[in-house]
């Protein structure tokens, strides 16, 4: 079974470039004959994750693997880590900087949106070391 493997470097602190990787992912996904709802959900997951990495973690790396059954998006950063995942998952909770908020980010909807649009989301985080978020979107799945 063929797997399309994509890797993107995400620049930290560059709000005008934020979203470039999700645009690139979308360009590839659109060629894969996937249902458009799947593509849209994956692009939202990727976009929100990308923005999070820019705002909180000084960038990182995104891995996107697509096979016949699923899309797996893995976002790795070497940022500060998430102290309280429970709080971070609450809608509206944000620790984004004033600068990020001024650019229209930091509404506290990132992680909730990622959770809502994926069938499975796993967060591995260690304070001072970094965070890895892995999201799976199943083609036969039924995420809300």
């Amino acid at each position: 079974m063929d797997t399309v493997k994509l890797v993107y470097e995400i620049d930290g602190d560059n709000f005008s470039a934020a979203g470039e990787a999700s645009t690139a992912v979308k360009r590839v996904l659109k060629k894969l004959k996937l249902p458009s709802a799947i593509v849209r959900r994956a692009v939202i997951c990727m976009y929100e994750g990308e923005i999070n990495m820019v705002i909180h973690a000084d960038g990182g790396r995104a891995y996107v693997d697509v096979d016949e059954e699923k899309i797996v998006i893995r976002l790795e950063d070497r940022g500060p880590g998430i102290p309280d995942i429970g709080k971070a998952m609450q809608e509206g909770w944000s620790t984004a900087s004033a600068e990020a908020r001024n650019s229209g980010f930091g509404a506290g909807m990132g992680l909730p949106n990622m959770k809502r649009n994926s069938d499975n989301m796993k967060i591995e985080t260690e304070l001072g070391v970094g965070t890895t978020v892995t999201m799976t979107i199943l083609f036969g799945g039924e995420a809300s």
């Binding site: 079974m1 063929d2 979308k26 996937l34 458009s36 697509v66």
Partner: protein, 431 residues
């Protein structure tokens, strides 16, 4: 669908300027000549505009077509009036057209004003709650949506083009006036671009053609210069007011809704970007997006003569003394004109299963990683990414890439110095 671009291979030098300019990557150069892939072409005419050798022409008709009909009506696209310098009255153009042999003139602004009036009076004919509508006046954008943004098909305003509405009305009125059967009346469009020509030849949502022939704007522009000089006291044939006449430029349509969240986007790159943002639900504030594939709307069409900005200035001057609005949609007109159409998607992907699509894309990604990403165009494709897709789909071979050929050459040499001599400076070892 057939497109309206014709390549004169004698003139084509294979320079790849059009390959790079094409917004849908529909052109490749092979064996020293450009090749257009019809399925991917949206007829925008960028290639016509940028070709340094004027190798492209546009499928269209000549004035000889008038002889086939007993009565001829010409529809000048609104952008046509902006082409002339020192013009102070739109009707001088109209009167000049009569001298060329037409029996009547119905500016496309008539249809524009009727559509505008319909939308103004009943917002539900254009706006839809929770849906960002995309205007359908530019046929190239409509085709782009059908081809690359299928999710947005419901967003496209399902109305005919202004020139089509004008044509339907003009024929009905001419039948009444002359007593001739409809097929003996010839209707021609003075067109700014191949997209409108294609729309003339193959309409969407109409059972048959409503315009009989398409005349290239640059051709009619020249033919009209001397008859226009002879015009003394022109009758009024514009019929429309500022509302309809403002449709030639980008923003002309959206300006009629000052109290709604409407924006106007023109130019291929900008249109692609905004459609992508609508698709990703990143654009949330707008209710209606007016789109035109050419810069400055139809004034930027490849068959126009004047630069689009100056043409806009001319138009501004020409409509100064005109009433805001002259025409109103009446029930009989509304009933007589077919307004709606169904837009069908155009599938350009080669793969017919996810498995096959994955296989093609995985192969393309593997190759892409090895390419220099200079997007030099020497392989005949617009970018390394497009080239890697071409290879995976079987339309090109890995060694069509000049860099891959250089790699082979380097590998054949035993000494590094020798290798460097053979290759162009960018590929020599760093000092």
């Amino acid at each position: 669908m057939k497109n309206s671009l014709i390549l004169n291979t004698d003139r084509c030098t294979g320079c790849t300027v059009c390959v790079k300019a094409c917004p849908t990557e529909a052109i490749r150069v092979t064996r020293s000549k450009a090749v257009i892939y019809n399925a991917r072409c949206i007829d925008c005419g960028r290639c016509v505009s940028v070709c340094p050798h004027h190798a492209y022409s546009v499928r269209s008709d000549s004035l000889d077509r008038l002889e086939q009909y007993k009565y001829n009506i010409v529809i000048p696209d609104t952008s046509f009036y902006g082409q002339y310098k020192n013009l102070y009255d739109l009707n001088i153009v109209n009167e000049g057209l009569l001298a060329l042999g037409f029996d009547d003139v119905y500016p496309a602004a008539i249809g524009a004003e009727l559509l505008a009036d319909l939308w103004k009076k009943d917002g539900s004919t254009i706006f839809e709650e929770d849906l960002i509508r995309v205007t359908s006046e530019c046929p190239a954008v409509v085709r782009l949506v059908a081809m690359e943004f299928q999710d947005l098909i419901p967003n496209v305003v399902d109305s005919l083009c202004a020139f089509e509405v004008t044509a339907v009305l003009a024929r009905q009125e001419a039948v009444k006036k002359t007593g001739l059967p409809p097929e003996e009346i010839g209707i021609g469009l003075i067109s700014p671009c191949p997209a409108k020509n294609s729309r003339v030849y193959e309409p969407i949502g109409l059972e048959s053609r409503v315009v009989d022939y398409a005349l290239p704007m640059n051709d009619i522009y020249i033919k009209l210069l001397s008859p226009m000089k002879a015009v003394t006291d022109p009758a009024d044939r514009v019929r429309a007011g500022k509302l309809g006449l403002s449709w030639g430029r980008s923003g002309g349509l959206s300006d009629m809704f000052p109290d709604r969240d409407v924006l106007a986007v023109d130019g291929a790159e900008n249109v692609l970007r905004i459609l992508s943002e609508i698709e990703d639900e990143k654009l949330t504030e707008a209710e209606l997006v007016e789109t035109a594939l050419c810069t400055q709307g139809c004034f930027g069409g490849c068959l126009t003569v004047e630069n689009p900005f100056t043409a806009k200035l001319h138009m501004r001057r020409l409509i100064l003394g005109l009433p805001e609005q002259n025409l109103e949609i009446t029930d009989p007109i509304r009933d007589r004109i077919p307004w709606d159409y169904e837009l069908e998607e155009i599938d350009t992907e080669i793969a017919d299963s996810i498995a096959q699509a994955l296989q093609l894309e995985a192969a393309a990604e593997r190759l892409y990683k090895t390419l220099p990403k200079f997007d030099c165009g020497n392989c005949g494709a617009p970018s390394c990414r497009a080239f890697s897709r071409d290879v995976s789909e079987g339309f090109a071979e890995e060694n069509d890439c000049i860099f891959n050929i250089i790699k082979i050459m380097r590998n054949g040499m035993s000494h590094e110095d020798e290798k460097d001599e053979l290759v162009p400076p960018p590929f020599r070892r760093p000092l």
